[in-house]
């Protein structure tokens, strides 16, 4: 499904995300990396409180937004593809120590060369995957 380039809402929404990451770092000295927060919530008893609060705030606020603005598009995405993708994202973010938020937004804000390498790796493989599925094989789900 084609989507429009939406520069204003992208920039403003991005600034909200940056503000959120800064608030967590400046407020309680923690990194707003979603994959890490999720893993630690499941696996660690210590510091579970703030992690649950953060994840709850994220899910409820985004849910409330789409309650008014309408749900994000797409339905009928094949379950097999969805589950394979989920496993890869969970496996990869654990191995690579973070996702778009932790490596991308927080890591780059901390000028970490490791994070820059991670961002280039997942952007590169993401672009490659979409290219192969949509253009080379024409089998995008």
């Amino acid at each position: 499904m084609p989507t429009d380039f939406t520069p204003t809402s992208a920039l403003l929404g991005g600034m909200l995300i940056g503000l959120a990451a800064t608030l967590l770092y400046a407020g309680i000295g923690r990194i707003a990396g979603i994959s890490g927060i999720l893993n630690n919530t499941v696996e660690q008893r210590a510091e579970r409180g703030w992690r649950i609060a953060f994840l709850l705030g994220l899910a409820v606020a985004a849910g409330a937004w789409s309650w008014f603005a309408g749900p994000p598009a797409r339905s009928g995405f094949p379950l097999g593809w969805l589950l394979s993708a989920g496993v890869l994202v969970g496996f990869g973010t654990r191995l690579g120590n973070g996702c778009t938020s932790g490596q991308g937004i927080c890591g780059l804000a901390r000028l970490s060369p490791r994070s820059l390498a991670a961002v280039l790796a997942f952007m590169g493989s993401g672009i490659g995957t979409v290219y192969l599925l949509r253009h080379a094989f024409g089998m995008a789900p």
Binding site: P71, G96, A109
Partner: protein
């Protein structure tokens, strides 16, 4: 209690930012990755907007040396770039390119059920698998 309130507010801002920027729509993410097709550069501006705020915000916090609640700040990440980092990130990118979900937007869409719930369960399973392999 104060820490919980800060985390709740940060999470809510994060969720609003994801929704407002359109990043909860997986098609928008896939079209960002589709540079050879119907490219939608929005995601690049989301990253730019976030860094515009977080880079000075993090630098300011580091100059203060501690958080508002008195926490020591996390140590700067090691500079080492190894196969695990690159391989893990590349695998993540493949999953991202298949479904258009990274962890944040998947959690943000949980209220819609269906797709996001299945994805998050698979993601937790994948993460658990990596943990088990690493422990060996």
């Amino acid at each position: 209690m104060k820490r919980i309130a800060i985390a709740l507010a940060a999470g809510a801002l994060f969720g609003l930012g994801l929704a407002a920027s359109g990043m909860t729509n997986p098609d928008k993410v896939l079209n960002f990755l589709d540079v050879a097709g119907r490219w939608d550069p929005s995601l690049a501006l989301v990253m730019a907007g976030a860094l515009l705020v977080s880079a000075p915000g993090f630098a300011w916090t580091r100059r203060r040396g501690h958080s508002a609640c008195g926490d020591a700040l996390p140590a700067q990440p090691a500079a080492r770039i190894d196969a695990r980092l690159l391989g893990g990130s590349a695998l993540f990118g493949i999953g991202w390119g298949i479904a258009g979900y990274c962890p944040g937007p998947a959690l943000a869409n949980l209220a819609h059920g269906g797709e996001a719930i299945a994805f998050v369960i698979a993601m937790l399973a994948g993460s658990r698998l990596a943990r088990l392999l690493q422990a060996r």
